[in-house]
């Protein structure tokens, strides 16, 4: 069951912004995709707060950083679509970002997993 807190987390732009590159690199490691297709895949993964207006510039940045490459593919339902795929530098970045993410979760999770005390303890004496 998705709670209100879950929904809020999935729409927090600051939280999502920090992991967007990792998510994009991970999805592109699985399959070559164009911009809107990536948005749909991100939403299906549960990150419904990620908007098109955030994803498209992020793809442009990843392409400038040479972590993804692109090619135009004709579409039967409209103009040619720009498909992105991971480069070797993108694979390296994905590995590094995944490691960093796991370390971050590993450090933060024990902190937030314990019950929150109702009354903070007084400061320790110097």
């Amino acid at each position: 069951m998705v709670t209100a807190a879950d929904t809020a987390a999935l729409h927090d732009p600051q939280l999502l912004k920090g992991v967007l590159s990792l998510v994009l690199l991970r999805l592109l490691a699985e399959r070559e995709s164009y911009g809107y297709e990536l948005v749909v895949r991100i939403h299906r993964a549960g990150l419904t707060g990620v908007a098109e207006g955030t994803v498209y510039p992020a793809l442009a940045r990843l392409e400038r950083e040479q972590r993804v490459s692109s090619r135009l593919v004709p579409s039967s339902s409209g103009p040619a679509r720009k498909y992105y795929r991971l480069t070797p530098a993108g694979h390296q970045a994905l590995t590094a970002a995944t490691t960093a993410w796991r370390r971050l979760v590993g450090a933060v999770d024990p902190l937030v997993a314990t019950p929150v005390p109702t009354d903070p303890a007084p400061p320790k004496e110097q």
């Binding site: 164009y34 098109e52 207006g53 400038r64 409209g78 720009k82």
Partner: protein, 178 residues
């Protein structure tokens, strides 16, 4: 959901693309064309899923979307649009100052003499001719009238940002030397 088929939908999409393009004016032309093409293709695909209204709303404000693309360049860009506005303002100020000076000069010439012949002087490079007898004046602008706005354009637009960063050139030179 009905995919965009009508002319009205195409116009709505194109209006958004053009608004986005306006805010992307500091990007090189080829890059802007790429962004326009990609936004059109993605938004048409989104419209087939959720309708054009929602697809356009999901893009957010064109100015914010453009800011995302400009930030994605990862370097400070020349601000050509700002440069043009400042250059026009500088030219207008230069012409206005020349006209104000000349009318004052004409008033002075009329008050100081009853000459019929024209009096000439100059103002910041512009030739000024006052005809007290006819209560008229003429201003002849020279190349300075173009130089002033051009310099203002270069400074206001930060045109030097279009040059390759000095650090990159130095690094390339050091790499060649090794």
């Amino acid at each position: 959901v009905i995919a965009m088929t009508g002319i009205a939908d195409r116009i709505r999409l194109e209006l958004l693309v053009q608004r986005l393009d306006y805010h992307l004016s500091d990007l090189p032309g080829a890059r802007r064309r790429q962004v326009r093409r990609e936004i059109r293709a993605n938004t048409r695909a989104a419209a087939a899923d959720v309708g054009l209204g929602q697809a356009l709303a999901n893009l957010g404000h064109p100015r914010v979307l453009a800011a995302g693309y400009l930030a994605a360049e990862g370097r400070p860009l020349p601000q050509y649009r700002k440069g043009v506005w400042w250059a026009v303002a500088a030219l207008a100020a230069y012409v206005a100052a020349a006209v104000i000076f000349t009318t004052g000069f004409l008033d002075g010439a009329e008050a100081a003499s009853d000459l019929d012949r024209p009096l000439t002087t100059s103002f910041l490079g512009a030739g000024v001719e006052a005809n007290p007898g006819e209560a008229s004046f003429a201003i002849t602008f020279n190349v300075l009238a173009l130089v002033v706005p051009a310099v203002v354009f270069l400074l206001a637009s930060r045109a030097w940002r279009a040059l390759p960063p000095v650090r990159r050139r130095l690094a390339a030179r050091a790499g060649t030397a090794q």
